[in-house]
Amino acid sequence: MSSLALVAADTAVIAKRNLKRIPRQPDLWSSFTLQPILFVLLFVYVFGGAIQTPGYPDYVDFLMPGIIVQTMAFGGFVTAIGLSDDLRKGLIDRFRSLPMARSAVLSGRTLADVATNTVSLVVMIVVGILVGFNFSSSPLEVIAGFGLLLLFGYAFSWIFAFIALSSSSAEGAQTLGFLAIFPLTFASSAFVPPDSMPSAVQAFAEANPITTIVDATRALFVDAPAGNDVWGAVLWCVGLIAVFSTLSVYKYRRAVSS
């Protein structure tokens, strides 16, 4: 078998294994589905009335693209928790003692997490429509938006794979993840327009890749002005995947269970 075919075959075996595990861990993924639903309800019915979003028919039309981006980012936790678990239980040792491709444990993990993100995405769209969100773009743009969101979720899975492999425990990885995601998503265009923020925070928000992804999703879902955001968003995702997959595989080779 050529080395590329070997990587693909081993990745498929690991991805299949992780997919089988999903329905058997209802507590894990229900928490990552319920939390964003609560966020939607909180922002639409509690904060929404106080937030001005000129150019959007309703706050919910502004909010949904942002909150789905945050949900995709949080999807990385499933990656981190899964890997930390495998490390702690000695499964990574077993995998590393097998004649399999070194990258397959990680590529299989992150590939399977695209499936969990797809489930979260569907749930969020349904909840969004129930609270009054409307797509106002062409079906092709909506589909492109789904693709972008899943690509972004895939990038965050790699970031979290790296965090999990760099942390000594699952709890450590979670804390590190929360510390990264909250400032990144709140100091962005996800929940409020950046021009309402103080100038320093506004500068951060405008440079923040989350803003680029959120604005691109808005362009694709509700026909907000896009500028270069869509291509910028794709570039960001590809760049993050390239950097963090390289770093994660490097870490994995040296990973030791404790």
Binding site: V13, K20, R24
Partner: protein, 334 residues
């Protein structure tokens, strides 16, 4: 035994001067090991002695700092990729995926050894049957007992029929009946010609399973030999007599002195003397004590155990946990 590069391997496991440090903790300070094909080599030592580090290096999980190690004729560093298809590893933590069924676990391992879809499934079914897990094979392994998980772990290590098998404390934490069952399973596997490196902190386990034992403490091999050779180091059989009355110790020593080269020792009413079947028997000792009117509460012939060996070699008992700290630092550093 298959030959590689035309050179027949003399030993299935051959380790020379293997060294490994974690920060300032020396986990292995130059160990030598040797296991001929088809034998079990026991690596015996307390927690933190360096056993797990040795297994990790030999299974390519950890690079050594120095020395050489060859397994199945392959160098663990230079030929690591090729070696992985020729070894099986079963660890002390029973590394099975508890969210998969027994069958799914074995099938996954088979696919990762690249056995192919059909053969992998067939092998999984075959191993489940051999390890008495057929009925539980389609159950999530989270529901398995400790003994069942260890059996599944061991089965996973055997999926590719590896010529060399590493068992890192395979029975730690198991109840006595599960231990016994696992021992029988291991014995049955090696009867087929597999070479096994077994680490354990249980002396009875090494005694029962190993052809040769390397006793390891503080990262060094402090003794090596067959279980009998190691036991003969602390002397032969001994006769232990428990006296009915502490006041009769002197009389008992006087009565039995002619039977032994050394004067028997007596402490807390228990008299211990070297015992040699050719020089007299239990009846003779009893007769002499009876003549001296010394009352006997209990009488036993005691064979030296590996515990005796361990205590005499290291000055502490094998199951003491005083080295646990070193192992923790080792893990933290790694």
């Amino acid at each position: 035994m298959r030959t590689l590069r035309g050179v027949p391997p003399e030993a299935a496991i051959e380790v020379r001067d293997l060294r490994k440090s974690f920060g300032d903790v020396q986990a292995l300070c130059g160990i030598d090991l040797n296991a001929p094909p088809g034998t079990i080599l026991g690596l015996l030592g307390p927690n933190g002695a360096g056993k797990t580090t040795a297994v990790r290096i030999l299974t390519t999980l950890l690079p050594p700092d120095g020395g050489t190690a060859r397994v199945a004729g392959l160098d663990v560093v230079k030929d690591a990729a090729a070696l992985r298809s020729r070894i099986g590893l079963a660890g002390q933590y029973a590394a099975v995926d508890e969210n998969l069924t027994g069958f799914e676990n074995l099938d996954m391992v088979g696919r990762l050894y690249h056995l192919g879809r059909g053969p992998s499934r067939e092998r999984a079914r075959e191993l489940l049957e051999r390890f008495s897990l057929t009925d539980a094979g389609d159950r999530i392994s989270k529901t398995y007992s400790g003994g069942m998980r260890r059996r599944l772990d061991l089965a996973a290590a055997l999926v590719a029929r590896p010529p060399v098998l590493f068992l890192d404390e395979p029975t730690t934490g198991l109840d006595p009946i599960s231990r016994l069952q696992l021992w029988e399973t291991i014995e049955a596997r090696v009867a087929g010609g597999t070479t096994v490196l077994l680490t354990t902190q249980y002396l009875d386990e090494a005694d029962r399973l190993a052809d040769r034992i390397a006793v390891i403490d503080h990262g060094r091999v402090i003794a090596e030999g067959t279980p009998d050779e190691l036991k003969s180091r602390v002397g032969g059989e001994r006769l232990e007599l428990t006296l009915r009355d502490y006041g009769e110790e002197e009389a008992a020593i006087e009565a039995l002195a002619p039977l032994a080269d050394e004067r028997p020792k007596c402490e807390h009413g228990i008299l211990v003397m070297p015992f040699d079947q050719t020089r007299g028997d239990i009846a003779e000792a009893v007769r002499r004590l009876d003549d001296a009117s010394v009352g006997i509460a209990d009488i036993a012939v005691r064979r030296p155990t590996l515990d005796d060996v361990f205590i005499s070699l290291t000055g502490h008992a094998a199951e003491q946990d005083e080295e646990g700290e070193a192992e923790q630092r080792e893990e933290a550093a790694a």
